[in-house]
């Protein structure tokens, strides 16, 4: 649905040129929810704004639905944008217009006949659960409600793509969750491709199918959210993951342990299996759980356990080998004494 190829965006500042986006190539498939994670200044905001050409890339191409947007200007670009919805961190509703007027604004942009506008606005308001707020001004709405209006406006013209620029970053955790559920619902029901950028890893964990991690304008890691959670490659990704799934055992506890400390990871179906008990029965090794939980990422279980293995060096390494055979990912944290 979206093909970004060798996209770069540089900015001229007083202190010279700054690379906002540096040679990014990404593909977002039809119907998926794609998350781009990074700290502020990583270039994710520039990147998403290049997708609908709110910012024109310095080089590279952006194709949406097969159409190269970088070749478009003026009215052609405007028409292409009708099919790319966008929502923002600060909602950006027209404060002097009612909820219904804000939505009909988008419909009029597409040249919708006026007799169809009213019913369509009602339909959209129902979809986002704001049917009773038709004639209300944005100032009277809560943050979550404003974002729902933003979503209704973005979806007004049946876009193929929805871009979310830190859409939940200004909202409290509960509201964030309800907006994320709404987005997922829309994605499933309307088969809209969603690209979202965020610095909150829980957003990605909650709704994204695939993700990319950005740092200094570059994509440093990309893949299925589940796979990245199970096996992050870069330090930054690990840092992001630890913000939602943390398995740090307190130093005090680690000091008291004299065995080998391992982190064992079970993916998908094997997560619930008694692999560990099988291992403990098969090898003369004592196991001691220090930490553990099963996380659900996109309904798929991911089991993560930190344990101390006591026994002879050979037995311990054989036990670890056994776990790996059973498709567990084992990371030795401390070799013990």
């Amino acid at each position: 649905m979206i093909q970004i190829e060798q996209l770069s965006k540089t900015y001229q500042t007083k202190h010279g040129t700054v690379k906002g986006v540096d040679d990014v190539t990404l593909e977002v498939k039809t119907g998926e929810i794609f998350g781009i994670v990074g700290y502020s200044g990583a270039g994710k905001s520039s990147l998403i704004r290049c997708i609908n050409l709110l910012e024109r890339p310095t080089s590279g191409t952006v194709k949406v639905g097969g159409q190269d947007l970088t070749k478009l200007r003026g009215d052609g670009l405007r028409k292409a944008r009708l099919k790319i919805g966008m929502i923002f961190q600060h909602f950006y509703l027209i404060s002097q217009k009612t909820v219904a007027e804000n939505i009909s604004f988008a419909l009029r942009a597409a040249g919708t006949p006026s007799k169809n506008i009213g019913p369509r606005v009602d339909e959209l308001l129902e979809m986002v659960g704001l049917s009773d707020k038709r004639g209300v001004y944005p100032a009277q709405l809560s943050g979550g409600q404003k974002q729902r209006v933003g979503i209704a406006r973005a979806l007004a013209n049946d876009p193929a793509v929805l871009l979310c620029d830190e859409a939940t970053s200004a909202l409290d955790p509960n509201t964030t969750l309800s907006i994320l559920r709404l987005l997922k619902d829309i994605n499933r029901k309307l088969n809209i491709t969603i690209v979202l950028i965020t610095h909150e890893m829980n957003v990605v964990k909650e709704i994204c199918d695939r993700m990319a991690v950005m740092q200094s304008g570059r994509v440093i890691e990309e893949g299925r959210v589940y796979d990245i959670f199970a096996d992050p490659k870069t330090a930054l990704t690990k840092e992001f993951i630890s913000s939602v799934v943390s398995f740090n055992v307190p130093e005090e506890i680690l000091k008291k342990c004299d065995g080998t400390i391992v982190k064992v990871l079970f993916k998908g179906e094997v997560a619930g299996d008694g692999i560990i008990s099988d291992m403990l029965q098969s090898y003369p090794v004592k196991g001691n759980f220090l930490h553990g939980a099963i996380e659900y990422i996109q309904e798929l279980p991911l089991g993560i356990f930190v344990m101390e293995l006591k026994g002879s060096q050979t037995d311990v390494s054989q036990a670890i080998h056994y776990l790996e055979q059973r498709e567990a990912i084992v990371e030795v944290i401390d070799h013990g004494n």
């Binding site: 009708l82 966008m86 923002f88 600060h90 027209i94 604004f105 988008a106 942009a109 100032a139």
Partner: protein
């Protein structure tokens, strides 16, 4: 410095005429400022850097002309525009004639006010409209003007009050008006009664306009 009430009664018809003349001058010049200054101010804003009709040459030229007119002292503009006034109104005296110079002064004044009011709009709201696929005309009509409504009304108030002050100088070309009356009778002839009466009328007028402006701006603002 006492007020002689007979003097007021005696000159009351003249005060009425002057008041009427002031209204004509303000009415005409405000109308022209709105009709020409508003689009000019919008143009100044949307042709600026980073906006949807970005156009450096157009922006610089309009900005330059606006600055020139705004730097000329009004009294000089008044005299310098006598030929233009003759051309447009067929006369150089009276409130209608004075309205020509007042309009010329009011257009750039109001245009800058419009530009400033538009600048205060959150850029994000304009961007959201662009992202939605709105036409430039829709953005002007449905985003820029509504969002700047309250400050535009404050700007109109400011323009009207400035025009009242300017119109006092219109007496130089026989424009008449309350301010002119104050200068002719009060200033040149030391007629304190007339001066005080006219100044009081001006104070009341300005107060009323300011209050009406504030009230309307507040009433219309949905934030």
């Amino acid at each position: 410095m006492g007020i002689e009430w007979e003097r007021i009664i005696e000159l009351w018809p003249e005060i009425q005429v002057a008041f009427y003349q002031t209204l004509i001058m303000i009415g005409i010049s405000l109308g022209v400022a709105l009709v020409i200054g508003l689009p000019l101010g919008i143009l100044l804003f949307v042709t600026d850097r980073g906006l949807f009709w970005e156009n450096r040459p157009v922006n610089s030229v309009i900005g330059f002309v606006v600055n020139i007119v705004r730097s000329i002292p009004f009294i000089i503009l008044l005299v310098a525009l006598i030929p233009l006034t003759q051309l447009i109104t067929g006369t150089t005296i009276g409130p209608v004639a004075a309205s020509v110079s007042l309009s010329v002064a009011a257009i750039p004044f109001f245009a800058r006010i419009v530009e400033t009011a538009l600048r205060d709009i959150d850029k994000g709201v304009i961007e959201a409209a662009i992202a939605v696929g709105a036409t430039p005309w829709m953005i002007i009509k449905d985003v820029l003007l509504p969002e700047a409504k309250a400050s535009l009304i404050q700007g109109i108030t400011l323009t009207v009050i400035s025009l009242i002050a300017y119109s006092a100088m219109a007496g130089v070309v026989g424009g008449g008006g309350i301010g002119d009356l104050a200068i002719r009778f009060g200033y040149y002839r030391y007629d304190n009664t007339i001066m005080i009466v006219t100044v009081v009328i001006l104070i009341v007028l300005v107060q009323l306009i300011q209050q009406a402006g504030d009230f309307t701006a507040k009433k219309l603002d949905k934030r």
